[in-house]
Amino acid sequence: MVKFTIRNLEILFSPPGISYPPTRPGPRYNGRMPTTVSRRRAALLLAAPLAARAQAPAPNQAEGDADLEDARQQARNNYKAIQQVKLPMTVEPAVTFKA
């Protein structure tokens, strides 16, 4: 297996479901020194800080409520737009149940 050295970013950014120290055979993990990891694990570790960076600051309650209210209003506008289309009673939904 190809192995290489990376900084131990896992202290700061542990992806969900990944436990440390690593259980695979290898140099003893001491929490500070560089360690050897597989490329797959490295990809996980490198993805985690990217993920963290991609997270915008959590919205405060008021912003979250405003977003939700916007989304609800948009949905109501959509319903109204669709209600303008005349539908004879015989028109069935475009999904079919097969027995």
Partner: protein, 486 residues
Amino acid sequence: MATHDVSSVFFSSISEIGAKLRAREFSAVELIRAYCDRLERLGPRYNALALSLREPAIRRAKDADYEIKLGRTRNPLLGIPFGAKDLLAVNGQITAWGARPYASQIFNYDATVIEKLNKAGAILIGKLAMVELAGGGGYRFASASMSGPGRNPWDRSKWSGGSSSGSAAAVSAGLVPFALGSETSGSILTPAAFCGVTGLRPTYGLVSRHGAMALSWTLDKIGPLARSAEDCALVLQAISGGDEEDPGSAGKAFYYNPKYARNPKDLVLGYAPVDFHEWADPAARAAFETALNVIKAHGYQLKEVEIPEFPYGALTSVIIAAEAASIFEDLIRSGKVDQLADHRQAAGLKAGIETPAVEYLRAMRVRGQVQAAFQKLFTEVNLLVTPARLSTAPNITDPLDGSGNAAQPARPKMRGLNGIIPAGNLAGLPAISVPCGFANNLPLGLSFIASPFHENQLIAAAKLFQSETDWHKRTPKIEDEEGRRA
């Protein structure tokens, strides 16, 4: 074995790379190593790479070399590297769907399309980044992804489009010869147009979605992004076909048949001049006009048409909102939905769960009428042509919901084919976007749309256009972190 220089093929077509592999100008292992190096080195520049799969890819390349050595080279995809949007399951590998709540998700099977490409001898070298959950909740910013905003290889300050952001960027930057993307409403055609690559959205049901993240059972499609229409055809041929694991499967396959392409003179091409002259962004009109003139010169019988009148955007929004809310009900009710990067998207999913059944059913009833209207339209024309997107890629910081626009330009009086992306998706129509020029140094795409299961007609039209233009052969200037040309 001597090491051969593979760098000359990074922007080559599948056929060209395949011919060099068969001529043993380089081995599949050399090819895969070179592409993996490039994908790992440059993929992060465009936030295009979700997960490198170097080790399994090299193992498969050794198998491909063995096949080539034995002369078993009939499949055109043998030894060809590719990338897959991170919504496709790959056995034992992380499939995060671009979303933090699923960052450690692993499936123990391959999606059907991955399995089919494996059988064809193609070699998966990486999972490609995407908009989180394919954007089902309606996102406000390009940063709505665990990998960060998709950056466009033509200009990194511009968006690569979504939701198949990494797939389009990777093909555009020559990091993979082709990639798989998915479309619910615009997620193949939009990034293909913005990144200057060819993207094909197949007919609903032609390609199995087993092993793909579901966003909307009645709208989801999987299709290729590649360097040309012909490359898309080769990939579609490999991934299409019936699948009992996908309830939406049409049980049909696609066979690429260029020899039997109909003469353009026997085909009626529908278009709307207003799309090119008024709906298109003023900066893009000249390029679109030139492209339309190339098509007109092919001898098609031209017919001016207009899209049937329906509230397409509202219909797709309601259908996606209801189906996505059902699919992600656990995520929404558990509160983990708040871990998504885009707050508007989280709010959209939450609002979706409140969709009244009667509103969803009304949308699905109107959808039947949309389908009937397009069936009627396609009795009058064989193909439609229109700008894939009306303008070039926006800045990665621009709000995508239009909330940042100070003033909206006046709407043209005629509808033309405006709204064809949601309309085509509602009706399950196949479409292809081909590069057709530039505006502000960014690529533009032109799309052809056909009636269901007429992909050969679509590809023939796109191929003919590409035989007389070289927009699909233009490549962006790719530089690494140190500013070296790559």
